[in-house]
Amino acid sequence: MTDNPSSLDPTLAAALSDGLEGSETKDGISPALLAAYLDGGLEELTRARTAHRLAASPSDFLNAVAAMGYLASLSAETAPRDLVEALAARRPNAPVRPLLPVETFTLLAAASDSGSRAVLCRSQSGIWTLEVFVAPNDAGKGYLLLSVHPDHRATYEGRRARVFVTLGNEERVLAEDTVRDCEVYADISLAGLDLHSRDAINVMFGPILP
């Protein structure tokens, strides 16, 4: 028994790889998510979801393996000071579109008035609606739907939205995705959250990333 899963004849491995071809997502795993995954900083549900994507997507998988090698190969270096000081003194150029402020929705039980037990909470803040649903067979799991009024589609479409709660000194990210078709939809973990009386959900909108 060797330490590594090797020794499979290359022609056989190549043929068997065909049986594993999976699905690719348009955006792939972002550098931020991959960094958090490799550093062990993700909570269980997000980590499992990321592992699922690595197992399903050959390009995400190959990227992650290469990224590990790359990170391990980086050595401690000191950048040329003249270069650093010149750039540190330079003011960044103006944003193409102004950054939007953090928008906070406070989701309490009173915010829900749907009459449906599946809807854990619903909150409307101006043009935004945020709903959290409970999974039918698992009270620890839920679904989050963030939607913007279609009249404001041009402003928000393509922006990144980060949905998080602050627990003590830590931020717990429930969902992070690009607004598409006026919506962000994500599976979330409800474990350890008290959305009825304690934990407010914050939504932060960012720029359109390349």
Binding site: L20, L87, P95
Partner: protein, 354 residues
């Protein structure tokens, strides 16, 4: 954890437009960015230019690229991966504009990753020369038609993931061509299965007779010393004096086509049977995979892509599992493979040897 919290506060202040924080961030990021650029470019001058451009890109649009940092990773890890993405996008853009002019930068950035990919799929000293051919084959495929394949990158997802997936498909096609062009000589096809297995091990895999005997024993096809000697003697009589395993030391582009009509009926039958069983094995994997747990599926992908250069600790990091759990996972995956694919003789042999 303290550092994570400080990093997050620093990034928040940068995004809020505080000049002092922005200057501090630039100094904080510079060494990491420099280390990345040194690692990813060919020489000091290129590293300096790349570092300057990358730090400027990090500053762009009020440090927009930092928005994605949320403190779940170390800032250095995040920055290193962002830099890799930025340089990757830049290189792919250059190749799209002029493949020939952009190729040197492309190879400086991705050459190491491509070579490691080849190393994983073709590990060991035996494949050393084939690896050279495989690398050339990948480069030729990526550069074909003025870099048409690379130009297809539309800016979504990781540039490295895009390039490596393309390269892996080219590599798999190259490896498949071994089987397509490596046929048992007609005289060997007429011999017993033990003789054929011994032929593959000695003539194709370059093993000594002793090593081949050990492999046969591991595979449950143990033969006595006398039987082995007799089989070897039969092979020496049957193998044509000028026999060369055609595929291993030539680039695909230079390899002669072997038309189907050149195969004897016996050889064609063997080839069809081999291709058929491989297709069945791939189908069995296709049926098996959805029923596996996520960690098992991820491990299976690792198994089939090759992981010779990864330590148990690396694999554990990739799987986000403790090392001891990775060993257990390995046992589970191998067991399931045995249950589902043991009918395939090549897999049976392999499973017996690991």
């Amino acid at each position: 954890m303290q550092q994570d919290s400080e990093d997050r506060s620093l990034v928040r202040a940068v995004l809020a437009g505080e000049p002092e924080a922005q200057a501090r961030l630039m100094r904080r990021a510079a060494d990491t960015v420099w280390a990345c650029c040194r690692r990813l470019t060919g020489d000091e001058a290129s590293a300096r230019a790349a570092c300057e451009n990358t730090l400027a890109a990090i500053q762009a649009d009020n440090f927009a690229c930092l928005w994605a940092f949320d403190g779940r990773s170390r800032l250095d890890t995040f920055l290193a991966l962002v830099v890799r993405d930025l340089l990757g996008r830049d290189v792919l853009q250059r190749v799209a504009e002029d493949a020939a002019a952009g190729w040197a930068a492309f190879e400086a950035l991705f050459g190491g990753d491509l070579r490691r990919l080849v190393q994983r799929r073709l590990p060991g000293a035996f494949w050393a020369e084939t690896r050279q051919d495989a690398y050339q084959e990948i480069c030729a495929g990526l550069l074909a038609a003025s870099g048409r394949r690379l130009s297809a990158y539309q800016g979504y997802g990781s540039p490295a993931g895009f390039v490596l997936h393309l390269a892996d498909r080219l590599l798999v096609d190259f490896i498949r061509s071994f089987r397509a062009r490596r046929r048992l000589p007609a005289a060997i096809v007429r011999l017993e299965p033990l003789d054929q297995t011994l032929f593959r091990l000695v003539w194709w895999r370059g093993m000594t007779a002793e090593a081949a005997g050990m492999v046969l024993e591991q595979q449950g096809e143990a033969a006595s010393r006398a039987e082995l000697s007799a089989a070897l003697a039969r092979l020496h009589r049957a193998v044509p004096a000028d026999y060369q395993p055609e595929t291993w030391q030539m680039a695909l582009a230079e390899a002669p086509e072997i038309p189907a009509v050149a195969l004897s009926p016996e050889a064609a039958m063997v080839a069809d049977e081999e291709n058929g069983t491989l297709a069945k094995a791939a189908e069995a994997i296709r049926e098996l995979a959805p029923g596996l747990a996520v960690a098992e599926r991820l491990y299976l992908r690792l198994l089939l892509t090759g992981a010779d250069d990864l330590s148990a600790r690396d694999i554990a990091r990739l799987m986000q599992q403790p090392v001891e759990e990775v060993y257990r996972l390995r046992q589970r995956v191998l067991k399931k493979l045995k249950e589902h694919l043991a009918d395939h003789p090549a897999i049976k042999n392999w499973l017996a040897s690991v």
